[in-house]
């Protein structure tokens, strides 16, 4: 074929690749770090701004480091100034969110686990259709149910309440939790269940004694996913509650939008950080489960 095995051209080949390799390597890191700055930039700005005084903010730029680490805005964002009624601060709404998230995550995860269990280990005719039926709930734009839901909550007397939000989040979490558990349980060999049935175990025993103990990974993924979705929700929170029962994202938005007095950007940033910290912590600690949830739920469709 080609007679390119001349010993002199080897040296050229070796050298050329060494230099291009080095150049490419540097280019690679440069681009990656460039993008990393794009992603880090807002976080940096948020933190730094929240630690400055309004004077400093007006004088410096987005990037300027605060002259001292002033946590006043954080305290104001969290607990307010104590002036009176006009003052919004995050603390009560933070707890609203907690009171809403914990039950909603629990119920939606539990129902999803049981439903996923039935769909994969107690097959019946048409179970694929049932799964599809439930799966569809992952995709609907929630605008299509806002109106009837608002009426229903009103009729049940739980509109503008944490309980109402728990109901909403539980119900609309079910398609996702079912998806996660169904995809996980489908890869658990049916022989396990068959062996248990031969041993005489019944429906619930099999679930609690056999499947649940090996479900830790998917439970973590589901809980993290649900926690993040529900904590970060704004649409349901703002539509179905206002005032005292509002969850934290709604409160955050209200605080930022209020144009009552001089805009306090440092308080705004502190509030945003407080609203974002829980999910951010979850992500930093259990990030790989978070990603697993994203990719497995998405790729498996």
């Amino acid at each position: 074929m080609q007679d390119n095995l001349q010993s002199s051209s080897y040296k050229e080949l070796e050298q050329k690749s060494k230099y291009t390799n080095m150049f490419l390597r540097w280019f690679l890191y440069f681009v990656l770090i460039l993008f990393a700055s794009y992603f880090i930039f807002p976080l940096y700005v948020m933190v730094v701004t929240s630690l400055k005084t309004m004077e400093e903010i007006r004088q410096g730029t987005l990037l300027t480091w605060p002259s001292s680490l002033n946590f006043d805005s954080w305290l104001v964002a969290w607990g307010g100034r104590g002036y009176g009624a006009g003052d919004t601060f995050l603390r009560p709404y933070f707890w609203n969110s907690i009171k809403m998230v914990v039950p909603a995550v629990f119920f939606s995860t539990f129902i999803g686990a049981m439903t996923g269990y039935v769909l994969t280990k107690w097959r019946f005719k048409g179970d694929q259709w049932v799964f599809l039926f439930l799966l569809f709930g992952c995709f609907i734009p929630f605008q299509a149910i806002l109106l009837p839901m608002a009426r229903t909550l009103g009729t049940l007397g739980i509109s503008n309440s944490v309980v109402g939000l728990v109901l909403v989040h539980t119900v609309y979490g079910i398609p996702f939790t079912t998806l996660f558990f169904r995809n996980y349980y489908i890869s658990v060999p049916t022989e396990l269940v068959k062996a248990a049935r031969i041993d005489g175990a019944g429906f619930f025993k099999i679930f609690f004694k056999i499947l649940l103990p090996i479900s830790a990974p998917i439970i973590v993924v589901t809980v993290i996913w649900q926690f993040t979705q529900i904590w970060n929700d704004f649409l349901f929170g703002s539509t179905f509650s206002f005032g005292e029962a509002a969850p934290i994202q709604v409160a955050l938005n209200n605080m930022v939008l209020s144009s009552t007095s001089v805009k306090e950007y440092n308080v705004d940033m502190a509030s945003a950080i407080i609203a974002g910290i829980p999910t951010l912590i979850v992500y930093v600690l259990a990030g790989k489960y978070f990603i697993r949830g994203l990719t497995s739920g998405a790729v498996k469709g």
């Binding site: 074929m1 080609q2 390119n4 095995l5 010993s7 080897y10 080949l13 070796e14």
Partner: protein
């Protein structure tokens, strides 16, 4: 000029030594098989020859040119992988000419090569299909075609038959052997299957723990294994290794198995060193197929052993015998009736024995 020469090659992955001072040479047209259990380093060695792995120490020469630092594409080699590694988004034709296009070969030459190779391998009707639409055997032929089309100096095969079912494996093995006979290419072929190695190779290099145990023709490896590892690895069932020692006096050298008083004469054995043999602890090696139920040769030595078990495998049976409380196997035609739990007269073919030092495991 050797087509491939490997000199003092060593390779580490971190602190693990995967290849230790490998030395190897092949002449043109040879079919060298790298044989060994998983983890012995054979695939690493193949990847190094291809240029896909770096070298820690030593050199690789192709046609006497030092290619140790040369990119795979410039080494004039081609490789067939275990999973065939056909590009899924391209059809057969695109798969086969991809390498030629990368090398900026002229359109006419590409067409010419494609025609030649695809008709030769009988894949010319499959050119428009995608890999997912091919059967296992077809995929392998396309993978071979992709390699052939580049007319390389050396063909590298990385366990190409391991993914096939038993029947297809035997068929494809034969096709590869036919190909080699027709094209007379130089091949380096990695496998862990000793039957494949024995049937395909003109030379076999058996490896274990990163070291070449023996590098010879199949016949020599079969008849004169250089250590117990090779003796045990080759043959199905593998060679019997009976523990015992040598008794040497002025006129006789004999083997006595452990726990026995029975002497087996080994005077005509081709010892490397005839001194210091007395009381030497050894393994006495004899293959199951060299234990006969009736005397076939002049020098066959008779011995009475008790038969304990017989496994029928079609035209043969594998009989488990007790030799002084050591289990050995013999291969007989299945037409012979074996009485179990009774002693029978057997004949050892002394021309086909191997003796190994008990401690060094090396051939005496």
């Amino acid at each position: 000029m050797k087509t491939l020469k490997i000199e003092e090659l060593s390779k580490n992955f971190g602190t693990t030594e995967v290849l230790r001072k490998i030395n190897l040479e092949i002449d043109e047209g040879n079919f060298l098989v790298l044989l060994g259990p998983s983890g012995c380093g054979k695939s690493t060695l193949l990847n190094i020859i291809a240029g896909l792995e770096t070298i820690n120490e030593g050199n690789v020469f192709i046609d006497d040119y030092n290619v140790s630092k040369v990119e795979p594409k410039d080494r004039n080699i081609a490789m067939v992988f275990q999973s065939y590694a056909l590009y899924p988004s391209m059809n057969v034709k695109e798969n086969m000419i991809f390498g030629l296009k990368q090398a900026k070969t002229s359109k006419e030459k590409i067409e010419e090569q494609l025609q030649k190779v695809s008709t030769f391998l009988q894949v010319d009707k499959l050119l428009e299909r995608k890999p997912s639409q091919l059967s296992g055997g077809q995929r392998q032929r396309v993978a071979i075609g992709r390699a052939l089309v580049r007319e390389p100096r050396i063909f590298l095969f990385d366990e190409p038959l391991s993914n096939l079912d038993a029947k297809l494996r035997v068929e494809m093995r034969r096709e590869i052997k036919k190909l080699h006979q027709q094209l007379k290419t130089t091949v380096v072929y990695v496998t862990h299957d000793q039957t494949e190695a024995m049937s395909l190779g003109t030379k076999i290099a058996i490896m274990n723990h990163g070291v070449i145990q023996q590098n010879d023709t199949p016949e020599i490896i079969y008849n004169k294994p250089s250590n117990t590892f090779v003796a045990d690895f080759i043959g199905s069932p593998s060679m019997n290794l009976i523990k015992g020692k040598i008794i040497q006096n002025s006129n006789n050298i004999s083997f006595i198995a452990e726990g026995s008083t029975f002497e087996v004469p080994i005077n005509n054995y081709d010892f490397k060193e005839k001194s210091d043999l007395n009381n030497k602890e050894i393994y006495f090696g004899i293959r199951p197929e060299h234990i006969y139920f009736k005397k076939l040769n002049e020098d066959d030595f008779d011995i009475n052993l008790r038969a304990d078990l017989s496994e029928y495998i079609g035209h043969e049976q594998i009989v488990t015998l007790d030799y002084s409380n050591q289990e050995i196997l013999a291969k007989f035609p299945s037409t012979i009736k074996i009485e179990l739990e009774k002693e029978m007269k057997l004949y050892f073919d002394l021309k086909h024995t191997s003796l190994f030092d008990f401690n060094t495991k090396e051939r005496l």
